[in-house]
């Protein structure tokens, strides 16, 4: 990401309805030394409006370096739908999506990868593991290459 920050820093879009989880995720990402901007959304509709713009075409985010952190259990829709829409959108399909959720059902995991999810992480109850996972995710973010804006 450091290579990108010069032009335009990668923006992390966090779709997580549980405020506590959102806070813990953010804290641990920051602890890993990742300072990229994080846009939190507590429900699916707001997140979709942000990602796809008012016209729903996704044109607003064309060429912007984005990374989506997605929870599957949302109050207004399932994260799987959001994942599908991102991965089938002309302008957003190359955006990396990290699914971070409590669901560890094998079928669900398979479905997410089938739809084009890039990483699937299960939230562990053990906080040490959780914090570690998030921090490593942060480290991962710092080296991850997102597609160039074109």
């Amino acid at each position: 990401m450091s290579s990108r920050t010069i032009e335009q820093p990668v923006q992390i879009v966090m779709i997580e309805d549980d405020e506590g989880h959102a806070r813990l995720i953010e804290k641990n990402i920051r602890r890993a030394g990742v300072n990229n901007p994080i846009s939190p959304f507590a429900n699916g509709h707001d997140a979709l409006r942000y990602l796809f713009g008012a016209d729903g075409s996704g044109l607003v985010n064309k060429g912007k370096p984005l990374l989506v952190l997605l929870d599957l259990n949302l109050p207004d829709m399932t994260g799987v739908d959001i994942l599908r829409r991102i991965k089938t959108n002309e302008h957003l399909k190359r955006v990396p999506v990290v699914v971070l959720t409590t669901t560890d059902d094998a079928v669900e995991i398979q479905r997410c990868y089938d739809l084009g999810c890039n990483v699937y992480i299960t939230k562990p109850v053990n906080y040490e593991n959780f914090a570690n996972a998030i921090r490593q995710l942060g480290l991962f973010f710092s080296v991850i290459q997102v597609p160039s804006p074109d």
Binding site: G20, H21, L24, N73, T102, K123, V125, Y127, F130, A131
Partner: protein, 504 residues
Amino acid sequence: MAQRTPLPNLQPILLGVGFTLLVVISVATVFLVDRAATDTQRLTQTLSVEDKLSNVLLSVRRAESSQRGYLFTDDARYLKEFYEAEPEARQLVEELRTLTRDNPARQATLDAVSNALDAKFKEMTETVSLNQRGEADAARRLVLSDAGRTITENLRKTISEAIIDEARVAAERTAQSRQTSELLLYVTLAGAALIVLIGAISVVLVQRNSRQREAAQTELEATNANLERIVEYRTADLTEANEEIQRFAYIVSHDLRSPLVNIMGFTSELEALRKDIFEQVAKLSPDAVAPDANTAQPADPAPAGEIARLGADFDEAIRFIKTSIGNMDRLINAVLKLSREGRREFQPEQVDMNALLESIAGTVTHRAVELGARIEVDRLPDVETDRLAVEQIFANLVDNALKYGREGVPLLIDITGRANATHAIYDVRDNGRGIDPADHLRVFELFRRSGDQNRPGEGIGLAHVRALVRRLGGSIGVTSALAEGSTFTVTLPRRWAAGRRNKA
């Protein structure tokens, strides 16, 4: 139904009556046939008597004509028939005597005939002798005396009376014979009619019975179909309820996990903050600033000892929270695991139970050697079932047996099996510490354990085993006494029922 009940009793009665009648008719027929034969024989006899009587007269006539021919011609050749006639007539009379032995009237007739013959032949022999001696005139006078003619006339009368009498008897016997034949015909006809009647009644009864049986069968089939439908509905209801419970367990455990992540996360954050907080508090404490200050000061906010005590309380609270979260997480995971197992689809196949148990014993060899335990597997019957499920069932039971050994007793785990027509029954027996009879049902419940809680575990294993056995269509039970060991008995259907739900 009430009006049908006497019918099954009527049939044997009818058959009995019919059979008796047939026997009576048969006896009557035999008797009548015999009588007809006797009648015929007697009739023949009568006719024969008539015939012979006529012949006697004929013989006398022949003798007479022969005698007269001789007297007339004086030629000895005419005497040939005369000499033949007497023995012939005598012979006939003898035969008649035999034939009419039982008829006194006829015997009297024959006596008369005999006398007449004597007289007649005496008279004729005399004429013949006179002529031979050349006294032809004397012979002719004797003939002309009409003595011989009178005898012959009397004989003829006697015989013709007897013949008339015999003819009367013959007519009587003919009538009787006809009567017997008629009777025989009627009896035979009656028998035939009876047989036809009984046959018809039997056919009607059989038809009626078969109709009743058909009706009963149809009714039974309808009832069965209805029953099957009811069972189907119930099964569908149960399956649905079970699926609902599985979904519920799954969703609840997932949703419970989410707040737990927060509780654990922020508790850890608090723990991380603790150091900072207590450092700040210690800075505010006068002890830290001036350790030699007047201890009698009542306004002191917090002495060092007090702070340490607060720190210990804080740590204790955090520790309890974290332990509880850990426990809760394990329980939620257990529920999740059970609900996930309940959702797995079964793949029925023929399972070689000996191979399966040997493989389970193989995986625990290391532990068994450490514990000095021995695992013995007897010859086991095979079953058609889900391999993974049975493997989990028996692995759990063997694992439990290894886990709950008895101090100072070398552990022996013995697995035996037997089969009946429909089910295979397996016993996993150990000589471990045993289970209190009061807990025999409890051990199969989720999160429930028995005896000293000195072994690790969550109380999931047997609940899981029971859920699996039930889903396979079987049952599980335990017999055990404390300090004697336990026997877990697993009963599984030998054939996979097609109707069984493969999915819960």
